[in-house]
């Protein structure tokens, strides 16, 4: 795109679009430091909502549940998703391949209300008590598909002859995978894990369907508070979550950039 110059029109459209994307978030962060209880009127700088947030036991318990679900489901999803990515890109034809790829890609576009309802009905039908584990299973299923997409795009783009060379030189398939393939696709696997982790951290709908008494996640807690009205503690909590995720994403992209430079 360099025949015509980057002009005023392009600059203006970028400025408008980025302000639209970032102003709401910046306002949210700004008002988390508002001394006034009224969320939309500025009453001076204060960090009291952060203090009261950390003293709020309900939020802390929910945060802990969410974190445990996200850690376990993201790790399970990364293993399963990486396996699925290898199946789709490396093992060739097998019976039911079409069904397999259909099942991998459909959860990506499936409305969450349907996935949530379907999983809940499954858990009821097999008599599994709803709680921490059912949320974890549900999140694993949803997020493994995202991992598959991320990892398989890396598997498609790298040179297969490296794997073939390892096999020719006497590696077993398993050790060729661990010694050659895995180090190359590791940045994609890490990116996939992070994506799965944040998706799980963020999910409200599927968690609401599959959770049981005593296993309220943070988004469920935020949702029930928001329905009651605006609340400065939610602003503080949101600011912390945004900060956490932004730092994570920036570190991840730096790591993967460095890994790419080393591989080239």
């Amino acid at each position: 795109m360099n025949v015509t110059r980057f002009g005023w029109f392009n600059l203006t459209s970028l400025i408008i679009a980025f302000s639209f994307l970032y102003l709401p978030i910046l306002l949210l962060i700004l008002f988390s430091f508002n001394a006034s209880k009224l969320v939309t009127v500025w009453g001076g700088f204060s960090t009291k909502w952060y203090v009261s947030l950390f003293q709020n036991e309900m939020f802390m318990t929910a945060a802990w549940v969410t974190l445990k679900v996200a850690l376990v489901s993201a790790s399970l999803a990364t293993i399963l998703g990486t396996m699925a990515a290898i199946v789709l890109t490396r093992v060739g034809r097998f019976r039911g391949r079409l069904l397999f790829s259909g099942m991998v890609y459909s959860p990506l576009v499936m409305p969450e209300v349907i996935t949530g309802l379907a999983l809940l009905l499954l858990f009821v039908a097999i008599g599994l008590d709803r709680g921490y584990w059912t949320i974890t299973l549900a999140h694993t299923t949803l997020t493994m598909c995202f991992v598959t997409v991320v990892v398989s795009s890396r598997l498609v783009s790298f040179d297969k002859s490296l794997e073939e060379a390892a096999l020719d030189l006497g590696c077993t398939k398993l050790s060729a995978f661990f010694q050659v393939t895995l180090p190359i696709i590791l940045p994609a696997i890490i990116a996939g894990w992070l994506l799965a982790f944040t998706l799980s951290l963020d999910d409200l709908v599927i968690a609401s369907f599959t959770s049981g008494p005593g296993s309220t996640t943070l988004p469920m807690k935020i949702y029930s508070q928001v329905r009651l009205g605006l609340n400065p503690e939610i602003n503080a909590l949101s600011t912390l979550l945004i900060l956490l995720v932004s730092i994570g994403v920036i570190i991840a992209s730096l790591v993967s950039k460095r890994a790419e430079e080393q591989n080239v």
């Binding site: 392009n10 396996m83 409305p111 349907i114 009821v124 493994m144 928001v226 605006l230």
Partner: protein
């Protein structure tokens, strides 16, 4: 040729395959089954339940009790039809609005100097990683009658009465455009960035003005990206729950919201399942078209 059964390959395929069969496909079969059942004051709240201990007669009596009553109910009560219609309308209009904002943005990104691009792309992706719920919540504080937008406009003297935006479809449009903008911009950017520059150069050499060259060359060639991006907005917007619930108020009907209240409010599992089945069927066509197109594009690139 390997004679021996390849256990490694078998397990590699079987483990994720089985997982998806149990946790993805089987649940849908159950949804269909329950949509054919009747609501009951029981635990679980539907009848019949399959009783395998009675053997064959248990199965036949189970099947004979299934009916289409829940689906008939969907036709009877206008609220369901209105929800579908309204979801279609809202998803369609917000997709168009997203395109209107997203196209100039993707175009600007593709033309931006190389050294800015990584940072700019990162800025497009970053909101996608931060919580959906939080981003929707941020708009409540802006759009409320005593919110920041109205306060700002009133202090500038542009309006005298606060605008009623929250709890109207307008707020839902804003929420959807805001949340799904990156989904449209990224595929569109990818298409625009790969565009063959010599074609535009040729158009300019042959006497096109830059604007003519855009409409005659750039835009038609970017259509695959436009369509892919629009599907990525339209499909999830159809089933959206959080945005209409938090920004749309009780008067904005959308099918995801209706399903939610049918399930959590009325505890009518069979009707909720029937709503899910119909929503799924209405999404099958766009999803299949979308996947076909993706495959065709992948083949064209290979």
């Amino acid at each position: 040729m390997q004679r021996q059964f390849d256990w490694g390959r078998f397990l590699l395929i079987a483990i994720p395959f089985l997982w998806l069969l149990i946790f993805f496909l089987l649940p849908f079969a159950i949804v269909v089954k329950i949509s054919l059942s009747d609501a009951a004051n029981a635990l679980p709240p539907y009848i019949p339940t399959l009783n395998l201990s009675e053997g064959w007669s248990g199965i036949t009596s189970f099947i004979s009790q299934l009916d289409l009553e829940s689906f008939a109910w969907l036709l009877d009560d206008k609220i369901y039809f209105l929800s579908y219609l309204n979801s279609l309308k809202i998803a369609f209009i917000s997709t168009l609005l997203t395109l209107l904002i997203g196209y100039p943005m993707a175009y600007g990104l593709a033309k931006a100097p190389q050294r800015w691009r990584t940072v700019l792309l990162m800025l497009v992706i970053l909101p996608f990683w931060t919580s959906f719920l939080i981003r929707v919540y941020a708009w409540i504080g802006i759009l409320k009658p005593e919110g920041l937008l109205n306060m700002g406009l009133m202090s500038l003297g542009l309006i005298e009465q606060p605008l009623a935006i929250i709890n109207t479809p307008t707020a839902v449009y804003i929420g959807i455009v805001y949340s799904y903008l990156p989904f449209l911009v990224l595929p569109l950017y990818a298409t625009l960035e790969k565009l063959d520059q010599t074609l535009i150069e040729a158009a300019l050499d042959l006497g096109c003005s830059p604007i003519q060259a855009f409409w005659k060359v750039t835009f038609p060639l970017s259509l695959p990206g436009v369509v892919a991006g629009c599907f990525l907005v339209f499909i999830p917007a159809m089933g959206e729950f959080v945005i209409p619930d938090l920004l749309g108020g009780s008067d904005t009907l959308m099918i995801g919201k209706t399903l939610w209240s049918e399930f959590f409010g009325n505890r009518d599992w069979p009707v909720a399942s029937a709503v899910a089945v119909v929503l799924l069927l209405s999404l099958v066509v766009p999803i299949v078209i979308f996947q076909r197109m993706q495959e065709r594009q992948r083949e064209a690139e290979a």
